[in-house]
């Protein structure tokens, strides 16, 4: 269970204080939770904050009742938080095998890596020795990013817009990956997304706009409003 208490994040923008997140409080305990809302609303900031990449100006983050606000990225990772980047990072020299092995935190046989890669629809034989660099397509990098999270199998897995930067064809098979993951992974999946098909499989949807928590509820409660009110989320509506 993840609890955010009165999270506020301010940045200094040309000597003007800008609030990116305003007093956000929410408890995440369902199996598959989606965060949605317009671009620039503070969703990614919130995800980075949970992973420890950004520190809140004020407020508290609790994981299973333990205050982790002061813990760094590594400590939080060890407590069971995984974070898939929106833009996967390139590594010169490190291969798919290296990264999956680091993620798993143990020696991985070719068979183990094959299991993980097939989860995200990649053939191990083709990818295991590939370097994580621009020779891989956006869709391939995204899948590898997700495979690292699967390899960790932690109690909280955060995905920041897995659909960003990949074409629609790749996306529809990526959806299957998430549907499968929802059925197989224990623990909580927290996914930032604008995609109706992702929101459709969420147990709970959180709407964040202008740095504020707008709505939290089941998909039955939240989805109809998202789709039919322009004020709630214009970007989302444009996309759907």
């Amino acid at each position: 269970m993840l609890e955010l208490r009165n999270i506020t994040y301010e940045v200094d923008d040309n000597q003007e204080n800008k609030e990116i997140l305003k007093n956000v409080s929410v408890t995440i305990k369902d199996h598959f939770v989606a965060i949605t809302g317009p671009n620039g609303g503070g969703k990614s900031t919130l995800a980075k904050m949970i992973a420890g990449i950004i520190r809140p100006t004020s407020g508290q983050i609790l994981l299973d009742g333990e205050d982790i606000t002061e813990l760094d990225i590594t400590e939080r990772a060890k407590k069971g938080i995984s974070f898939a980047f929106q833009q996967p990072v390139h590594f010169k020299g490190l291969t798919v095998k290296d990264m999956i092995t680091i993620a798993a935190g143990r020696e991985m046989s070719v068979g183990d890596i094959c299991d993980i890669l097939s989860e995200v629809g990649l053939c191990a034989r083709e990818y295991i020795d590939r370097e994580i660099n621009s020779s891989l397509s956006g869709g391939e990098l995204k899948r590898i990013e997700i495979a690292m999270i699967a390899a960790r199998g932690t109690k909280l897995s955060i995905f920041d817009e897995p659909e960003a930067g990949i074409d629609l064809w790749s996306f529809s098979s990526l959806i299957k990956v998430f549907e499968k993951m929802r059925d197989e992974i224990n623990g909580t999946i927290l996914i930032i997304s604008h995609q109706e098909r992702i929101l459709n499989i969420a147990d709970r949807i959180i709407v964040i706009a202008d740095g504020e928590l707008r709505q939290v509820g089941s998909r039955e409660e939240v989805l109809p409003q998202l789709l039919h009110t322009t004020s709630a989320c214009q970007t989302l509506e444009e996309k759907l």
Binding site: G93, I102, A103, R152
Partner: protein, 305 residues
């Protein structure tokens, strides 16, 4: 061979024992062992210090190991080794120098390796440099490699200097005839107050000749590295050089590439990137549970792999 020498041999040649095939092991200026085969002859030079390695035309799947070991502090030498690779031969040559300096004097190995590749000869050349020691003596290595490639010859050169060399000036010269190919992969890591300079000059004289030079280096501590490369395209050729460096602490890297196209059909490219480890790489690995230091190690190891 004593334990120190055995360890050096493992570091520079990946060998635990005496290798198979042709070899010449030089330790503290003396011949420690030599083996020739039906196709590969090794002859001691009479006019200066060094050996001639003569490989018969058509020799395939054979290897030559010529490690040099220096375990006597203050040992200084300059060695000339010439390689004659016959037409159509395809061989692997492993050279390397390991210095163990436990004294206070400067140990120094200068080696000039000259390769003559006949038509369609193919050589994979692996060179490793390694230094260690518990004294204050400096380890200095100045390798010079000169490569002459005739028509259709192909040389693949891998050079590695990861540890313990205080000062190095690596010089590589090459000239390529029609259809010849030169591929160079260089890896360097320096730390402390070490200095490494690499200096390449390649003349692409033949049509369809090509050269690909890839240098990856890491400069830690207060170490300094300089990268110079000159590529002259004198025919319808393709040249590519790439200098990729990570700097850490107060490390400093200079890259000075020079490309000259003397022919309208010469196609030359240089890429250089120098910088510290990208913050997002560290963050990514930390979200996988590594500490910042472990993440740095992984990135550097991968980069130099």
């Amino acid at each position: 061979m004593d334990l120190v020498q055995k360890n050096l041999l493992e570091q520079v040649a990946g060998l635990h024992e005496i290798p198979e095939g042709a070899y010449n092991i030089r330790a503290n200026g003396n011949k420690l062992g030599r083996n020739t085969t039906a196709n590969i002859d090794i002859v001691t030079k009479t006019d200066k210090d060094g050996i001639d390695i003569i490989i018969k035309p058509g020799t395939v799947n054979e290897s030559v190991h010529i490690p040099v070991l220096l375990s006597q502090s203050g040992m200084q030498e300059c060695v000339y080794n010439d390689f004659y690779i016959g037409e159509g031969a395809d061989v692997t040559i492993v050279a390397g120098c390991g210095i163990h300096n436990c004294g206070v004097d400067t140990s120094k190995h200068d080696g000039v390796h000259t390769f003559y590749l006949e038509k369609n000869a193919k050589v994979r050349y692996v060179e490793r440099h390694y230094g260690e020691g518990d004294g204050n003596g400096e380890n200095i290595m100045n390798p010079e490699t000169v490569v002459h490639l005739k028509e259709g010859a192909h040389m693949d050169m891998e050079t590695t200097q990861i540890k313990g060399i205080d000062s190095t000036n690596r010089v590589t010269r090459g000239d390529l005839a029609d259809g010849a190919m030169l591929e160079i992969h260089e890896k360097i890591m320096t730390h402390g107050k070490q200095f490494a300079r690499t200096d390449f000059a390649v003349d692409l004289n033949g049509d369809n000749s090509s050269c690909n030079l890839i240098s990856r280096s890491v400069a830690k501590g207060e170490s300094r590295q300089e990268f110079f490369s000159i590529m002259n395209g004198n025919a319808a050729c393709a040249g590519h050089s790439e200098c990729d460096a990570i700097i850490m602490d107060q490390g400093c890297v200079t890259a000075s590439p020079q490309l000259t196209a003397n022919c309208i059909d010469a196609n030359l490219i240089h890429e250089a990137a120098i910088g510290k480890i990208a913050g997002e790489q560290l963050i990514k690995l930390m979200t996988l549970g590594l500490t910042e230091k472990e993440a740095e190690e992984q990135i550097v190891n991968g980069f130099l792999k």
